[in-house]
């Protein structure tokens, strides 16, 4: 056990799984880095450094640099997966999935069903998500709804270093295609993380904070924001429960429904535009299955229906921020 960042936890999970299973390979742009240059290859380890050191330790047959060809990256991963490997592909920023989406949702995710259960596609797509990085409209999206809607895909969105490690290990050992969404703004966050391997199962939400007046459901980088508001409200004697589903597909409906059964009030904090979002998904689920418990409207705190703006002040307002979360909480708490 030692303090590790979210990024280190990811790197450690990758390394541990590569040591454990020779079929685990890494494939993507600059996951090694420096190929064909005058210096040594392998010194980059991905633009965010998540695969740092792995090329030097495992060599070119386990850590494969590719051209900027995302469809071919995903296809190479899924084709390798159905024939016996366990590839971990990297799509540098989730924003880039538009150039390879077919290979994800029509191919890898559908193989098993289309082929009547006769294919197994154990692959992971790691990708960086989220705003707050001043990356502009094409480098700041989250897009977890895009994947959650796809039957055959599993979607993981860890909110802290401990979960990142345990969920990534589960993802790599999983026999289905998994997309693993890493929050850029969390890469540097650190906490105690065990050195050894451990798994966090999919579909089991984490009740990050217990409470009885109001339920917050938050995803990824929104979890710390929900917690912060829960703390503010606690000072006034308002007790908020904070739930981090950790995976959006499968989704742990039971934990959310149990919480709402107790609190009767729900606010969902979701970093994405509002339409067909996870906020909508969870809200609608509770409006059906948890209707009897509800004491107030279900509120969502999302981004507006706009692309991500570049200017820092606009971007800060774009993201669900404590002010907007608190407003929603108070609206729900004050509902009569």
């Amino acid at each position: 056990m030692s303090k590790k960042t979210y990024g280190q936890a990811i790197n450690e999970a990758l390394r541990g799984e590569m040591l454990r299973d020779p079929n685990v390979i890494i494939i993507g742009e600059d996951v090694a880095g420096g190929h064909g240059a005058s210096g040594e290859p392998g010194g980059v380890g991905g633009v965010f450094g998540m695969t740092a050191g792995l090329y030097k330790e495992f060599g070119p047959e386990r850590v494969l640099d590719t051209p900027i060809s995302e469809s071919a990256i995903i296809g190479a991963a899924s084709g390798a997966a159905v024939t016996g490997m366990r590839p971990v592909a990297e799509i540098m920023f989730v924003d880039f999935v538009g150039v390879c989406f077919d290979q994800i949702y029509n191919q890898a995710a559908k193989f098993r069903y289309m082929f009547g259960g006769k294919a197994k596609t154990p692959m992971v797509i790691r990708t960086a998500i989220g705003a707050g990085f001043r990356g502009g409209a094409q480098h700041s999206q989250t897009l977890h709804p895009l994947f959650t809607m796809v039957p055959g895909l599993k979607v993981v969105i860890p909110s802290n270093a401990y979960d990142a490690k345990g969920l990534l290990i589960s993802a790599i050992r999983d026999d289905d295609p998994v997309i693993f969404m890493e929050s850029k703004v969390l890469y540097g966050q650190s906490m105690e993380v065990p050195d050894e391997a451990y798994r966090i199962p999919f579909g089991e939400a984490n009740v990050v904070r217990e409470g009885k007046d109001l339920t917050f459901v938050a995803f990824g980088a929104m979890v710390p924001r929900a917690l912060a508001v829960a703390q503010t409200l606690a000072a006034e004697g308002i007790s908020c429960e904070v739930i981090d589903p950790r995976t959006t597909s499968p989704l742990d409906e039971d934990t959310i429904l149990e919480s709402v059964a107790k609190t009767g009030r729900l606010v969902i904090i979701d970093e994405s535009p509002p339409r067909c979002s996870l906020a909508a998904d969870v809200g609608a689920m509770v409006a059906d299955k948890g209707f009897r418990s509800l004491k107030a409207p279900i509120k969502a705190v999302t981004c507006p229906h706009t692309p991500v703006p570049f200017a820092p002040n606009l971007e800060d307002e774009y993201m669900p921020n404590p002010r907007r979360i608190e407003e929603a909480a108070r609206a729900v708490l004050g509902y009569r």
């Binding site: 390979i25 047959e61 191919q107 069903y113 289309m114 009547g116 039957p151």
Partner: protein, 321 residues
């Protein structure tokens, strides 16, 4: 080395099975026994069979929407195929896939693919496994002339070169992508030349000549098995019927169609092997009878088979969820 007499019989059986199967699919479709739509491989038999002839069950192919011929050439069971195409229980994909998604992992058949350009990237991945596991096996991506213009296909060509994997790109240029001629939609002077410019050997092959395809594939396979990287074949062939069953193809004049039919790979093979006294008509007729009976049986069984159990609707989405 020349092919043995048994090999020649196997080749003829495979081509004739495709021919018979597809003619029957065409007929059953017209009778309303096949749901949805289907694209038949009539006229292209020598291509699929020539390419797959020396592949083992541990070599892989990725196919297209026009995949029946590839399946048969790769050894898929025609009973399972007919069940699948009719949407019946016991089909190769349990009736969930249909004509455009037939797959059989036990035969190295990675699936027909209803997305044009869907297979080449996947085949690169299958080839990557072979390289990493040092199996000496290869993966073939079948694509049409139309698919040769899809971005995913180009990426796969480049990726195969960069990763140095034993992927073989079999471009079946049947002159058309749907209702548009390849002479219009492929801006390049040649698909093979375009593939070559990506950094791999490439050749143009007469796709109505089983022997030409088989020999060119032999060169591709030699390179692949030796771990020397990818290869491309532009296999020039003809689509006898329309794009899908029911396409009246008014855009093709009768003369063009007649010319295509005039270069039918099956009589051409028969003529070649009988004139060379390698096989005689009796050998070939015997094969034909067997094949006709087998396809007849496959249709009869598929017609009689029940639909998949409704309880299977939600199974097979995940290994575990």
């Amino acid at each position: 080395m020349q092919l043995s007499r048994d090999d020649l019989k196997r080749a003829y059986r495979s081509m004739f099975t495709i021919r018979t199967f597809e003619e029957r699919v065409d007929k059953e479709f017209a009778l309303g026994n096949i749901p949805g739509f289907a694209h038949v491989y009539l006229g292209q038999e020598a291509s699929g069979v020539g390419v797959c002839f020396d592949l083992t069950n541990d070599d892989y192919i990725g196919s297209t929407h026009r995949g029946h011929g590839h399946c048969i050439a790769k050894g898929c069971d025609v009973h399972g195929m007919m069940l699948e195409i009719m949407g019946k229980q016991g089909g190769l994909c349990g009736g969930k896939g249909g004509s455009m998604h037939i797959a059989d992992m036990t035969k190295g058949m990675l699936g027909a693919n209803a997305i044009v350009g869907g297979s080449p990237p996947i085949a690169v991945g299958a080839a990557l496994t072979q390289k990493l596991k040092k199996t000496g096996r290869v993966a073939v991506a079948f694509s049409g002339d139309g698919a040769s213009n899809q971005g995913t296909t180009f990426e796969a060509l480049n990726m195969a070169v960069v990763l140095g994997v034993p992927a073989i790109f079999a471009f079946e240029n049947n002159g058309y992508g749907e209702h548009t001629a390849s002479s219009y939609a492929v801006g390049a002077p040649s698909i093979a030349e375009r593939a070559r410019s990506f950094g791999m050997p490439a050749e143009v092959v007469d796709g109505s000549d089983f022997f030409a395809v088989h020999q060119a594939m032999g060169r591709a396979l030699e390179r692949g098995r030796a771990g020397e990287g990818p290869y491309a074949l532009e296999i020039v062939c003809s689509r006898f019927l329309g794009h899908f069953i029911g396409d009246p193809q008014a855009y093709r004049l009768p003369e063009e169609l007649a010319q295509a039919r005039g270069n039918d790979p099956i009589p051409r093979f028969r003529k070649g092997v009988t004139e060379a006294a390698l096989l005689d008509d009796a050998d070939l007729d015997a094969i034909e009878s067997e094949v006709l009976a087998e396809v007849e049986d496959a249709v009869a069984k598929a017609m009689a088979a029940p639909r998949p159990d409704i309880s299977t609707l939600e199974t097979d989405v995940y290994v575990r969820y």
